[in-house]
Symmetry: C2
Subunit: 257 residues, 2 copies
């Protein structure tokens, strides 16, 4: 199983949309994919029609009660898309940092949980909340590669630098490399600021930026109402086509990884 974490401390950049879109494409190709919602706000869980306030078991209960194979399998839900399952988030995740506090050793919980079901899925996507904390530490430890969606706008560039600096520090303390790919999102080629930002991203981050960009596409908003990924509902839409190209690039890399 190959695991991608999708993260950015900046909010509303397309993290959930990226995870759901890529998983939808893999499901269409007949691969089994596990989506993991690590966001206390539970956007992905709500996307597939579940209620983060009442869903139980969930990612949170794995922290609370342990994550052996039965507990992990017991928390997994169907998404209504063949081959795509969900490990849901509960709103109680918002209390995790306060509860765990300085207690160490909880940084590998998600990685261990995923290893219990690794032979049942081809890939998994971890949807991260817009914050740096114990959930982020878990996602970094559990993933093979980090995808960082970045809106093509000026302030987002500054925030990216700071965040990558922090993530490098977390990985260094575990003597691990940070394997990341920046994914430009909500790109609007008619807006000067968007075009300039994309150029700046490529100048600064070189090969760590995907060679394409996800275009601004209002169909993403509509798809969330239907509870299915846009890539499953309308595979020929501009937004879907862009995610297909991204997936091709990611699978290419996998082949050589």
């Amino acid at each position: 199983m190959k695991t991608w974490a999708v993260a950015n401390q900046k909010g509303g950049v397309g993290k959930t949309t990226t995870a759901v879109s890529l998983a939808g494409l893999l499901a269409l190709q007949g691969r089994r994919t596990l989506l993991v919602d690590m966001d206390p706000h539970g956007s992905m869980t709500a996307y597939f029609g579940y209620d983060p306030e009442s869903v139980n078991p969930s990612v949170y209960s794995l922290f609370e009660q342990g994550a052996d194979a039965d507990q992990v399998r017991g928390a997994i839900l169907p998404t209504g898309v063949e081959g795509m399952d969900l490990l849901p988030a509960s709103t109680a995740l918002a209390t995790l940092d306060r509860q765990l506090g300085a207690r160490s050793g909880m940084g590998l919980l998600i990685r261990n949980a995923l290893s219990r079901v690794a032979d049942e899925y081809d890939s998994s996507f971890l949807d991260c909340p817009p914050m740096l904390g114990v959930l982020m530490v878990n996602a970094l430890a559990a993933c093979d590669q980090l995808l960082v969606p970045v809106q093509t706008e000026y302030l987002a560039l500054k925030g990216l630098e700071r965040m990558l600096h922090t993530l490098h520090m977390i990985q260094r303390s575990r003597s691990q490399e940070l394997a990341y790919l920046v994914v430009p999102t909500m790109y609007d080629q008619r807006t000067r600021a968007s075009v300039d930002c994309l150029g700046e991203l490529r100048r600064r981050y070189g090969d760590n930026v995907w060679s394409g960009a996800i275009p601004e596409d209002t169909q993403f908003r509509d798809a969330s109402k239907r509870g299915k990924p846009l890539t499953v509902l309308h595979p020929w839409e501009r937004g879907s086509q862009a995610y297909r190209k991204l997936l091709d690039a990611l699978l290419d890399e996998t082949a050589t990884a």
Copy 2:
């Protein structure tokens, strides 16, 4: 001094943009406004050209070292807009929840800090991070009214209900009312989903939703590059005009509050 907190656990809905835009309008009217950045990602601090990684003192140092009048005044920075000052965020705020853990009594720190400078400003805006935690508890305790920017898209509606439920609970434990106003943002009247969502928001939340809506306007992205609010740079832009109407509604209410 009247204090507004701008919050929503959903990311990227226009919290920072709302705080900066409203404060800019008040500054143009000759009123003194204090912006408080409570987001560990420091979007607002970076907006005005400061570095959240190195800025010190900051909101974080008030938690660490105390918030008497000198400490609060000592942390306030100019924004380059006459009459508008900034209490900056530092990236260290990301560790606050873990550090404070179950320690009680830190929920009133920001309210007490603001009271030290209340006679030097007409109004203040607290820009909250997209999370529920000790910073949110502080913002609720410190504000007279909560502004909740909500993107007019389907998933945002579900998330709003859950969040308001949690905020009501926090306020109830302090036997306080939750005074909030939902502000529809990024409204695109050409998109069916946007129009439907606005209608649904009004149906569900009645008078707790502002009667207007902030339109989708790419000029907001461009303004952040210039480090000035759009309402100061281009007061006649569609986006600025919408915030002017919102401010009128807020000041009307203040008059009767």
